[in-house]
């Protein structure tokens, strides 16, 4: 039960009524209290009831009652008039049971229906790509991998799924049956926001689906490399040329003779420390060291590297023969194992996606709880890494990666080193956008979540040149998120700026028109609906929502009560006259 005295006149009138009641009761007491207490009580009660009735009428008294409303919601996939789910819920507050027809609602929308008993008849999804996923944000050199399944009615039907580049050329394709997974890969050419197309072609050559695949290729954050080597090598020379030409900073410490060293710093700021020190190790992102240089280091320096790795430094070690015998003496390499191969073992191999032949050390590499970061075309493990504190230590038996360069295959060379750095280098401390859900398909009117990572909360996020609020994550204090609701399809531009208005990172996401990705979006909603229904079935009945409603009291009752008690008062006065 509740009343509403929010309007000024109801408040004023209510106050006057209560004031009048006070005076009235005083007069009644004076008149009746000594004469007849029963009569006094009756009159006082009648007055109070009349005032209360008037107050209830003024305050629009409502009574909360439990309701049970069973409705049907039509969603895309049906032929009826489709209401907006949010408005639908507002319009039907007494909703307790809901039948959802059509493809249903997204997981975010279904959250609003928590506690309502939902029945969801799974409809047949139209033919097209489903469970489609691809990274929405890449760096130059990273591959765009589009995965998914092709939904169709007939299992025997075969569809050729093609990935078409922005120029309209096919870059990859796969032939799939119903429900089979496809995986299409390409290499975006340059920075920027690009549209690829995912096409399905049936056996007659007809295009049965053509969906845009939006991807934003951003600029990679700078990396700082420290190289220690027992002698200058072609490997590090080629690495230096590529890395520093592409923005990396590098410090190379090379032994050129006995107790003679060559220190080369490239792209480092003036006055940067060029010695092997703890501070320097903590400043660089990746230490690249050959096995012989590592074994020649004194114990103190080894422990410095170990500590720096625990603090986050990545360490990449080119294994050498001399390192093998001392492997167990170095705690930095705990967990790694190098076993000599037989004399006939193959040490020449192809790397994946390459026709260049490489040499490797005649050892088999293993690491407990390690992961591989360099693998040959036949699955040979050539490089493995293990976590050490916050950092990673990797060992590689692959030799002469620069053969790619010598063969003019700069793409493969640069991608290989990029993947090594991505696996091993220190986690970037730059403020940046966090990866977006690979399955995200944004549509107008749908919520779009974007998160950033920043060590300070003074960063500002702009969406389409408008500043938007960032909310700090309660578990990860460096994670901030925002939610926006694009109203029209098109590119959604996000810019992360520092307090000094300097651009730190950019992200472009695409909001697709409703005509795009219909099957994939329908499948997402169907999956969300199924998960929601399954979740409900596990809930106890007590957890289900019991909706109540504030029903305004019928004015007739006010009138009857008022008439009744006013009549009592009238009669009491009459009786008084009669008594007198």
């Amino acid at each position: 039960m509740s009343v509403d005295f929010s309007s000024w006149y109801s408040l004023l009138l209510g106050g006057l009524l209560l004031l009048g009641l006070g005076f009235t009761l005083k007069a009644v007491k004076k008149r009746l209290y000594a004469h007849s207490f029963k009569r006094f009580c009756l009159v006082a009660l009648a007055n109070v009831v009349c005032v209360l009735v008037l107050l209830a009428w003024l305050g629009k008294l409502t009574i909360t009652t439990q309701v049970s409303e069973h409705l049907t919601l039509l969603t895309p996939g049906t032929k009826g008039d489709i209401p907006d789910p949010g408005v639908f819920l507002q319009q039907n507050p007494g909703l307790s049971e809901l039948d959802i027809k059509g493809y249903g609602l997204t997981a975010a929308q279904l959250k609003d229906f928590d506690g309502i008993k939902v029945r969801f008849d799974v409809p047949e999804i139209s033919q097209g790509p489903v469970e489609v996923a691809w990274p929405k944000h890449l760096f130059v050199g990273e591959s765009l991998v589009v995965t998914g399944r092709w939904h169709m009615r007939d299992y025997n039907q075969i569809v050729t799924v093609k990935l078409i580049d922005p120029a309209g050329s096919e870059v990859d394709s796969a032939r799939v049956r119903k429900g089979e997974l496809f995986r299409l890969t390409t290499q975006p050419k340059a920075q920027g926001h690009y549209f690829y197309q995912l096409q399905g072609v049936d056996s007659n050559g007809q295009i049965i689906a053509d969906e845009p695949v939006s991807v934003f290729i951003g600029q990679s954050p700078k990396v700082k490399l420290l190289v220690m080597q027992s002698a200058p090598s072609f490997e590090t020379r080629h690495l230096k040329n590529w890395a520093t030409e592409n923005g990396a900073s590098m410090l190379l410490l090379s032994t050129i003779s006995k107790e003679r060293y060559l220190t080369q710093s490239v792209n480092l700021e003036q006055g940067h420390d060029k010695t092997f020190s703890a501070a320097n190790l903590n400043d660089f992102d990746l230490l690249i060291v050959d096995g012989r240089a590592l074994t020649q280091l004194p114990v103190q320096k080894l422990s410095l590297i170990e500590q720096a790795s625990k603090n986050g430094l990545g360490v990449m070690i080119f294994a050498s023969q001399s390192m093998v015998s001392q492997l167990k003496d170095m705690t930095l390499l705990n967990g790694f194992e190098l076993k000599a191969k037989g004399p006939q073992a193959d040490t020449r191999l192809n790397m994946a996606n390459s026709d260049v032949l490489f040499n490797s050390l005649p050892y088999t590499l293993a690491a407990s709880q390690g992961k591989s970061f360099e693998v040959g075309a036949k699955g040979q493990v050539l490089g493995m890494y293990r976590a050490l504190g916050l950092g990673k230590v990797g060992v590689s038996i692959l030799l002469e990666r620069y053969r790619w360069r010598l063969n003019g295959q700069m793409q493969q060379y640069s991608r290989h080193w990029q993947s090594i750095m991505k696996s091993l280098a220190r986690v970037s401390s730059d403020s940046r956008f966090l990866p977006v859900d690979a399955q995200l398909l944004s549509f107008p009117g749908q919520q779009l979540q974007v998160c950033i990572l920043s060590d300070q909360g003074d960063k500002t996020l702009f969406w389409q040149d408008q500043k938007v609020a960032l909310n700090q994550d309660q578990f990860n204090r460096f994670r901030y998120c925002t939610h926006v609701w694009p109203t029209v399809s098109g590119a959604q531009q996000f810019e992360l700026k520092s307090a000094e208005d300097q651009l730190l990172d950019r992200l472009v996401l695409q909001t697709y028109a409703a005509t795009h990705w219909q099957s994939a979006f329908a499948a997402q909603k169907v999956a969300a609906g199924k998960a929601f229904v399954a979740g409900q079935q596990q809930k106890l009945s007590g957890q289900m929502r019991k909706p109540t409603l504030n029903v305004p009291v019928d004015a007739t009752w006010y009138w009857l009560l008022l008439v009744l008690f006013a009549s009592i008062l009238w009669w009491e006065r009459k009786w008084a006259v009669h008594d007198e």
Partner: protein
């Protein structure tokens, strides 16, 4: 006639001669001025319609000014002589006066200087000629002015840089009718063509004549070309406007009416005269060996094709006699005996007797066929591959093959890569090329692939005989047949490759490599097994097998199907190349590794610890210019998408892209369409072009094709947390303490 004194007669004669010199000098100078104005007045007229009138006024003024030089008379001659002959004591004027008019004193002076004049005249010391430098100047001016006649299109063109400038549009003027006559160069023997469309495609060097009729005759019209040149349209009595130009470059043009551009842009594609294509049909192999007792006669057949005609085909031969340091070369040129006309071109034939060339066993002749076409000016020349005919000595037979095969390999690799590049280009241009041209290009690539395949065939010692027939006629059909054949062979090679007993089978084939392998693989190198697993010959056979398939598809005008095979062929060639390198390397000297005790033990006085600091980061500007322009233009077109109104920076960027495409169109004429699209975008100031809905889409596609793939860049770890995060630190701390326990 008056009675003249001898002195007066001499002076009159000098005066007459000098006057003639003066007149000649002035005439040459005025002629030079007139020619200069004549040659330049049309340039001026193009800048502004009224400027040519002012120019004429300036010319007339200058003409009169140049004409108004001091007159030559007795007085000026006397002054001149006074100045240059001191002996006349400033009294030359007296010599012109009649003796009756002279005073006594003047008479005395007259008598003093008259003998001096006579004496100087006798000595021919009177310098009364004009200085030579004056005449030289006049002649130079005349030569310069006359040379302006020979400037290219000098009478009609003016260079005006207008890139990125918003030209005012004139939408009131309409072209009511037009006729464009194209006159191909005479040497092509093609007839003139009449174009109704203003986008024209012409043979290089064609003369194009535009004739327009406009709805407004009060304006001055010109044609503006994309490279900044403008050409006035001359008004004819019938109110048509006319201009003509010899076209040598692919470009764009539009019509300008009194300084305002009409909204349409038209393309002018130039079809280059192709170089002759020369192929030696017979001998098929690059290397022909004639046994010591073999027939020393060689039949040479060469197929020569050209788009317009051949003027000369000859054989350039070098005969090498002797061996080692005593080898001597002799170059000679030969003509073919005869030729036949075939569907594919002219088939030239020559019967060559090596003995008639003065050769003996042990000698070699290297020959190449050179063909020159009939292109005007200077014909284009093309050469065939070089064929080596070796008349063997008994003992050298087995030595040469290995060395030659290795030395030729790099050339093959380049060619295969070139075929791949050109195939990709052809696929990219598929939509823009006319079907016959596309097919012709594809077949042309097929021929190149065939060439390469045959080279390998002879290197491998297989399939040497099939090639000639394939090219000579019915290429596609035979290619298919042979492709199947080779596929079988390819399979058999694979079996051979996989067999553990490869050496035995290889030796049975009789290839030199296997023979060598039998005897050379006896040392105890542990890596010999790997060498056989990367058998270069097997790799090359696979490469050839793929070349067959590539050629088949190219001949059937399916370059997109051919491309994977071309790439496979290239891949196997690379593998073969590497395998060959390894083979050589493993046989060489491998020093034992230097021990730590021996290493770094030399004198170190001269070796210093040193430090270098460099800045090696490439800025955006250093990236390839065209690539950067295409990237930025693609991004701009993507971002604009329907937006109207370009900023100045955007216009500049698109203008640069247009210029770059126009430059590239000199080699790939179809790119000019995309340059035209950019020009239309610039004119309409929007991505929406009337009457060409998909032009911008096609432009974007082309730009994407032209963008080079960027290299991957160094990258830091991208995990979704920061190391300074409390939770991560805690996790780290727990991990450490756990580890310690």
């Amino acid at each position: 006639m008056l009675n003249r004194t001898p002195a007066q007669a001499i002076l009159a004669e000098h005066l007459s001669r000098l006057s003639l010199n003066f007149l000649l000098h002035r005439y040459i100078l005025l002629l030079a001025i007139a020619i200069f104005f004549f040659n330049t007045i049309e340039y001026v007229a193009i800048i502004h319609p009224w400027l040519d009138k002012i120019y004429i006024v300036v010319f007339v003024a200058l003409f009169f000014l140049a004409n108004k030089t001091p007159k030559l008379n007795e007085h000026s001659l006397a002054e001149h002589l006074n100045r240059i002959v001191p002996q006349f004591e400033e009294s030359t004027q007296l010599l012109f006066k009649p003796s009756d008019d002279l005073s006594v004193l003047q008479h005395l002076q007259y008598q003093r200087i008259e003998p001096r004049l006579l004496e100087l005249e006798q000595q021919k010391a009177l310098a009364t000629k004009l200085p030579k430098k004056n005449l030289l100047f006049s002649f130079s001016a005349l030569v310069f002015a006359t040379s302006l006649f020979y400037l290219p299109q000098a009478s009609q063109f003016n260079r005006e840089k207008n890139q990125g400038v918003i030209l005012p549009l004139d939408t009131t003027v309409a072209i009511e009718s037009q006729q464009i006559d194209v006159f191909p160069p005479k040497y092509t023997a093609l007839t003139a063509e009449v174009y109704r469309n203003r986008d024209i495609e012409v043979i290089e060097g064609s003369k194009v004549r535009w004739s327009f009729e406009f709805n407004d005759d009060s304006k001055i019209y010109s044609l503006a070309f994309a490279d900044g040149l403008t050409m006035a349209l001359q008004k004819q009595p019938d109110n048509r406007y006319f201009a003509e130009k010899v076209i040598n470059k692919t470009g764009l043009y539009s019509v300008v009416a009194s300084g305002k551009t009409l909204p349409e842009v038209y393309s002018l594609s130039v079809i280059k005269d192709q170089q002759p294509r020369v192929r030696v049909i017979n001998p098929v192999a690059t290397l022909v060996e004639i046994e010591l007792d073999g027939d020393p006669n060689v039949a040479i057949e060469a197929m020569v094709q050209d788009d317009f005609g051949i003027t000369e085909v000859k054989i350039l031969a070098s005969v090498a006699k002797g061996s080692g340091e005593a080898v001597k070369f002799r170059d000679e040129e030969f003509l073919f005996d005869d030729y036949q006309l075939t569907d594919k071109g002219r088939l030239y034939q020559k019967h060559w007797d090596l003995k008639a060339l003065g050769m003996e066993s042990g000698d070699e002749v290297y020959f190449t066929v050179i063909a020159t076409d009939n292109k005007a000016g200077q014909g284009q020349t093309a050469r065939s591959k070089t064929v080596i005919v070796r008349w063997l000595d008994e003992e050298e037979r087995s030595i040469n093959i290995e060395g030659i095969s290795i030395s030729y390999m790099p050339e093959f690799f380049r060619s295969q890569r070139q075929i791949i590049i050109e195939t990709e280009q052809l696929i990219a241009d598929k939509n823009e090329l006319a079907t016959p041209k596309f097919k012709a290009e594809s077949v042309s690539l097929g021929h190149s692939q065939n060439d390469l395949k045959l080279k390998y065939g002879q290197y491998l010692g297989i399939e040497q005989d099939e090639g000639a027939g394939a090219w000579g006629g019915g290429a596609s059909a035979e290619a298919t047949e042979q492709g199947d054949e080779d596929e079988h062979q390819g399979h058999s090679h694979e079996h051979e490759h996989e067999s553990p007993d490869a050496h035995e089978q290889s030796a049975a084939n009789g290839s030199q490599q296997e023979v060598l392998a039998q005897f050379a693989h006896t040392h105890e190198d542990v890596h010999i097994g790997e060498v056989s697993s990367q058998n270069p010959k097997a790799m090359m056979k696979k490469a050839v097998s793929n070349m067959w398939q590539a050629e088949l598809h190219l001949m059937m005008h399916e370059p997109d199907l051919a491309l994977p095979y071309e790439k496979q062929a290239y891949k196997y060639l690379k593998l073969a190349q590497q395998a060959e390198r390894v083979y050589v390397k493993r046989l060489g000297f491998e020093p034992p590794p230097v021990s730590e005790q021996r290493r770094l033990t030399g004198k170190l006085d001269q070796i210093k610890t040193r430090s270098e600091t460099t800045d090696n980061s490439l800025d955006a500007q250093s990236e390839t210019g065209a690539n950067r322009i295409f990237q930025q233009s693609f991004a701009l077109l993507n971002a604009l998408d329907g937006q109207k109104g370009l900023t100045k920076a955007q216009r500049n960027l698109l203008s640069n892209a247009k210029s770059t495409l126009t430059d590239m169109a000199q080699q790939r004429a179809n790119l000019i369409r995309h340059a035209a699209t950019i020009e239309k975008v610039l004119i309409s100031d929007s991505l929406k072009i009337d009457g060409c809905e998909d032009c911008v889409v096609k432009l974007k596609q082309k730009l994407w094709q032209l963008i080079d793939s960027a290299l991957a860049t160094p990258l830091a770890g991208q995990q979704p947390y920061l190391n300074s995060d409390g939770l991560i630190e805690e996790y780290h701390r727990l991990g450490q303490s756990g580890g310690e326990r």
